[in-house]
Symmetry: C2
Subunit: 244 residues, 2 copies
């Protein structure tokens, strides 16, 4: 049995951000599995079967990928960004827990440029000092736990990156997150909304928390909040290395 | 004047982790500037001047790069990993603060695979849920501030990535960091030491905090500490998406 499973990050959108090792592994694959818009980024070719699936079926998708690899297929699960950051790698290992017979499968994770790194690069260097990454989606955890982590991250004076800040199904929570940040960090703290980062639709908007409104974010937005030391220089935003 | 400055991330070591856009910008450069081992990764060619410099001269290096670009050169400052994560981007913007005459220079930051993402991928998906990145070097900040942030990160139950965990000039502090983590997270918490990640010298070592010793880390090591939910499956370590 020569099957394998690679969990690969396609980066945030721009093709020149896909690493050569990810391009190479896709060229060897028999099957590519992932959320519809990510699989749409893979060029069709003879001998390659594409398996686009809908959102919120991550565990089913992971089981399917493992079973194909167990049958001898060369399978790539594609994620946007980095597969280890709020993406498919954790779902695959979750699915693996239930199947000890698959524990010796050849599984590799190929890192990618995660959205916050591309967003930070576009803005300057707002994550240039200690920072944290928080998923604001409450699909899999209670909102109260997210609020509590936001407060603690602010008190630790991390710069912060938020993934999945706001969706149609939960439009009000991000307003609450902004209220918490204003209370903890004050009105002058810088916040950057980076939408469709690294694509031709990219927009960047840096304001203070006083001027931030919930509609500045949607599901395609990564939000970066500065630490107390984060500031502007010219048209850039950055956090000095010497920040405490 | 057609000079420009690109601050580019070479990734953690493996050539197949260098993004195509970084390879392309280096091909157009007249000057490449950076710490000696990173400049050593750039192939010499006619028309390209290499400027390797020693560690701990980041601000001088940044000023030099800006001045060359201001004179019309096409300059690439190279960092390992991602330039915006404990690397050269913040130093360039720091240097820019003192020179308003350079504020309109064409400066871009090109993201890269930062060490913690490659380390996490090699281990499985330990950063699969909310996490933070902390620089343990006290070159530019007091150690007491680092200790305090460690405590708060543990109480927020972030998974954690530590850069620059230990050096010859400060061998004792990492032992103190481990003591803090044991007190805050308990002895069973998983910790992964990833050394020379993505290179042919790569080693990975996952133990519990009870079994962790300071000599497991050096300057080439990225340290990943799990959250309360982080666990093993087969030969992998991962943090479930449903962690609170």
């Amino acid at each position: 049995m020569s099957g394998w499973l690679a969990i690969a990050g396609l980066g945030p959108g721009r093709d020149t951000l896909v690493t050569p090792e990810v391009t190479a592994v896709i060229a060897e694959a028999t099957d590519v599995i992932g959320y519809i818009p990510y699989v749409a980024r893979i060029a069709p070719r003879a001998g390659l079967k594409l398996h686009p699936t809908d959102n919120r079926v991550e565990l089913d998708r992971a089981q399917h990928a493992l079973s194909l690899a167990a049958e001898g297929a060369r399978v790539v699960v594609v994620s946007s960004g980095d597969p280890g950051v709020f993406a498919m790698a954790a779902a695959v290992f979750e699915a693996l827990e239930d199947r000890p017979d698959w524990h010796l499968l050849d599984i590799t994770v190929l890192p990618g440029i995660t959205a916050m790194l591309a967003a930070a690069a576009a803005a300057g260097a707002p994550l240039g000092h200690d920072f944290c990454a928080i998923n604001l989606s409450d699909n899999l955890k209670p909102w109260a736990a997210i609020e509590q982590r936001l407060r603690m991250a602010a008190r630790a004076d991390f710069a912060m990156a938020f993934y999945n800040p706001r969706s149609k199904s939960r439009p009000h929570q991000f307003a609450e997150a902004l209220d918490i940040l204003r209370a903890e960090c004050g009105p002058e703290r810088l916040i950057t909304f980076a939408r469709s980062v690294s694509t031709s639709d990219q927009t960047l908007n840096t304001v203070t928390l006083a001027g931030a409104t919930p509609d500045m974010a949607d599901m395609r937005t990564v939000v970066l909040v500065g630490s107390a030391a984060t500031r502007r220089v010219g048209r850039y935003v950055y956090t000095p290395r010497s920040a405490v």
